[in-house]
Amino acid sequence: MKSKVLFAGAVSVIFANAAPAQTELTMWYHGAGNEVESRLINQIVDDFNASQSDWAVAIQSFPQESYNDSVVAAALAGDLPDIIDVDGPVMPNWAWSGYMQPLPIDEAAYADFLPGPRGVWDGKLYSIGLWDAAVALYARQSTIDALGLRVPTLDNPWSEDEFMAALDAAKASGDFEYALDLGMAWTGEWYPYAFSPFLQSFGGDIVDRSTYKTAEGVLNGDAAIAFGEWWQNLFQGGYAPGTSQDPADRDRGFIEGKYAFGWNGNWAAVAHMAEVDDMLFLPAPDFGNGSTIGAASWQFGISASSEHPDGAAAFIEFALDDKYLAAFSDGIGLIPSTPSAAAMTENYKAGGPLEVFFGLSEAQAVLRPVTPGYVVAAKVFEKALADIANGADVADTLDAAVDEINADIERNGGYGH
């Protein structure tokens, strides 16, 4: 009898001490090599793992440049993790391709989010971002004053004529190598992200968003041709350095006074403010159809093969806490997704040096075309803009781009639209 009691006691002690095992959730992230980003994302993972006993997230980071290739290869090999992060405009393609499943989190969790960080495709939320990114026209107050220009505002941005007059004045002053730095040295996603809003402001677009089945009429219509001619004139007219721009000049040209104006993102703003005392971040010019900038950055979602979408969703919802949004913003300078998180940050709170970017993102942001075909259309658009910058015939180049985009849409059966 005594031994039975001892045995029962031992068993009860063993079970009392054994914590229930946490189910592992695998997660991939694009920030390998970025110390600040790695520290922040690992902090969220550690906090989540310690906050409950059901799930344990194990993170694997990848270099950003090759992250998408790694995910696509893993999807083909059936080796995706539970949680992935995805660049906003790429998400529809991954959802359509069957790499992702809808994100089952409560709508209240993202009710006050900016539009950019919401990854919605086919009427369902697939991904959600902790931050957004915005682009602005970089300028110096001293340059504006010296050239006798009006400071544009969100409510009253520069018109096309005012913008070109500003570039003419900068060019005529002889104080700069070029009037405008568009960042032509940055290739890839920068082109559609940074430059397609100009096209939209002219009245065109990369694809027809009413059907998403063609680019005909929007990428080669009158508005697009007017955009193309304006774009080509920036380079042929000597206003901006072209595709052969030295990457070093892109990083430091504005700071060193080579350029009067720069078209750059909020991620570069802190570094510029550190070296330029009178920095101004101005809204995009209005070319006739409103002043617009790009939107959407990296977001979290759940892979289609995840066997634990509830756990993955629990982690993502946990990460949407304002304190993490604010921590990421303070750490890497990006725009927090909510006004309440913005108020907690150094740069985006009321009166903060980058507050203007939150306003830009809120008021002017237009998502890149929300379609699986975007990943192909973006590359076609990039090539077309580079060709036009290098002197190619505008109408012919845009017609060829339309043909290429339409052929891709047709090849893929309309991408489910």
């Binding site: 090599g33 694997q60 990848f62 950003q64 090759s66 083909l76 080796d79 070093a248 990083d251 570069a268």
Partner: protein, 293 residues
Amino acid sequence: MAVIDPANHGLRLATRYAVLVLVAAIFVLPLLFMVMSSLKPTDQLLNDTSSLRAFLPVGDISLQNYYDAFARAPIGLFVFNSILVTVGTVSLSLLLCSLAAFSFTFLKWRGKGLLLSVTLATLIIPFETIAIPLLLLVSKLPWIGLEGFRIGWLNSYHVQIIPWIADALTIFLFVQYFKDLPEELVEAARVAGASWWQVYVRIIMPLSGPVIATGAILKSLKMYNEQYLWPLIVVQQESYRPIMVGLGYFFQLQVAWGEVMAYLSLITVPVLVFYLMLQRAFIASIASTGVKG
């Protein structure tokens, strides 16, 4: 009768040295630029690129980029992984390809000419065209290792080694070299009762120093320097990543070029050491394996 004009001789010598210096500079200057740049802050590095200062240790010189590079990425791990994969692949490749070449050259069997042609024809197929089918294949192959049985080769060293062992170029090098060896050596050994394996091990391979060195150098450079796409798609865990995938850690939105140069300098060291070691072996093997007909 030709007379050597001392003035002409001096001019010829000067011209020869000028050409040699120029050729040496073409090869050395990029390395010098890389190492010097790795010692400079990024701002200075970029400013120096427009002048000869780019090749000189001037300005704000320090090892800070090396400290920062080690903080950003597990460089030692990446170098270890690349060396392990390179050594494993090259060793197995030299063995397997030399055996294949031995068979193509010395053994008589039906269809070997056709098979050799087919093997060499694979040289024209770019790896990119077979990367995805190969990925699908290795992701479903079984494997028994120290960790037990599992399906799929992804995230391992062997997935980075095995697909690269058989190599048409290395087979071709061995075949070409074996063809130039005197057939009498093989015939004499066979008459003396040696098996084919003994002929391969005791006669042919000891005479094959130059082609082994050449094959090892070519294969090693390919495995160490060019392995990017394949590990990118078959290795997701950092613990198995090679150096070329690791290079991506340094390309953030604002590229720290000083750290990039420090990383490149560090990963170049094993290549230079290996090349210098094998260069001596290469010369020695040429000198020692001359066969008189």
